[in-house]
């Protein structure tokens, strides 16, 4: 059971990785979104616990990017900051900062929870009106009093419980 659910979580995450690449802003483009991923090949995904995914984000490089890759082969001191960022974006889709960005999903979750609790409340109300039988007579005030008296007469829980709170001399509850 557990390995199976782990697989489904994995496929959910890859779907998020693919959708994220298609819809997120920033300059990169070229990662296919439409066709079905071949799960037997290494995949790219943004995960905080996998810092180096199996493949780079961009597989198909444009002419400019290929030039950059050539330049990368020589000393890195020659690269400008923009070029370094462009190289990073070829390898990775989201940075850690982008991955860990808060999503406001909790508001949806909490809202959903409250909605369902509300619906449950309505159902229970309907049940109270249309379904539940009468309250048993043993809940009446008088009956409960007689019941308590009988419990005291029987000395129920005389050490630390019910009858221990009753003063048998003065015939009243202990102060």
């Amino acid at each position: 059971m557990f390995p199976f659910s782990a697989l489904r979580v994995g496929s959910l995450l890859t779907r998020r990785g693919i959708i994220a690449s298609g819809t997120f802003r920033t300059a990169h483009h070229g990662h296919e979104v439409a066709k079905q991923e071949d799960m037997s090949l290494p995949m790219y995904w943004d995960r905080t616990d996998t810092p180096l995914p199996d493949i780079p984000f961009q597989r198909k490089l444009g002419a400019e990017q290929q030039g950059l890759k050539q330049k990368e082969k020589s000393s890195w001191k020659n690269l400008t900051n923009e070029e370094k960022i462009a190289l990073y974006r070829i390898m990775f889709n989201q940075s850690y900062a982008e991955m860990k960005k808060p999503t406001n999903e909790w508001k949806t979750v909490l809202g959903g929870i409250f909605i369902f609790i509300g619906v449950t409340g309505l159902i229970i109300w309907w049940q109270k009106v249309f379904m539940y039988p009468q309250r048993p007579h043993t809940f009446d005030e008088n009956w409960q009093a007689m019941q308590a008296q009988r419990m005291i007469d029987m000395r129920m829980s005389p050490v630390q419980g019910f009858s221990s709170k009753w003063d048998y001399e003065k015939k009243q509850w202990k102060k």
């Binding site: 007469d153 029987m154 000395r155 050490v159 630390q160 221990s164």
Partner: protein, 78 residues
């Protein structure tokens, strides 16, 4: 390089975590057990000891009988 970063911790992470959590776990466990013993168990033992020091079973039985809770030992008297 603009502002070199400090080298991150590369090893010993499990040991560090274990050291902290082992101490915490044992202290918490022992602490909670001691609290329960002295807040619940000892007072309860004392309560029972006190109760049974002055307990007269026969007298209690007669009182219960007069109250009418028994089926085979009905209250004495008319």
């Amino acid at each position: 390089m603009s502002g070199a970063l400090a080298k991150p911790v590369m090893r010993g992470m499990l040991a560090k975590r274990l050291r902290f959590h082992l101490i915490a776990a044992f202290s918490l466990a022992i602490g909670i057990a001691a609290t329960f013993k002295f807040a619940v168990a000892e007072p309860r033992k004392r309560a029972y000891a006190e109760f049974y020091k002055k307990y007269d079973a026969a007298k209690e039985f007669e009182a219960m009988r007069e109250a009418g809770v028994f089926v085979s030992a009905r209250p004495t008297g008319k």
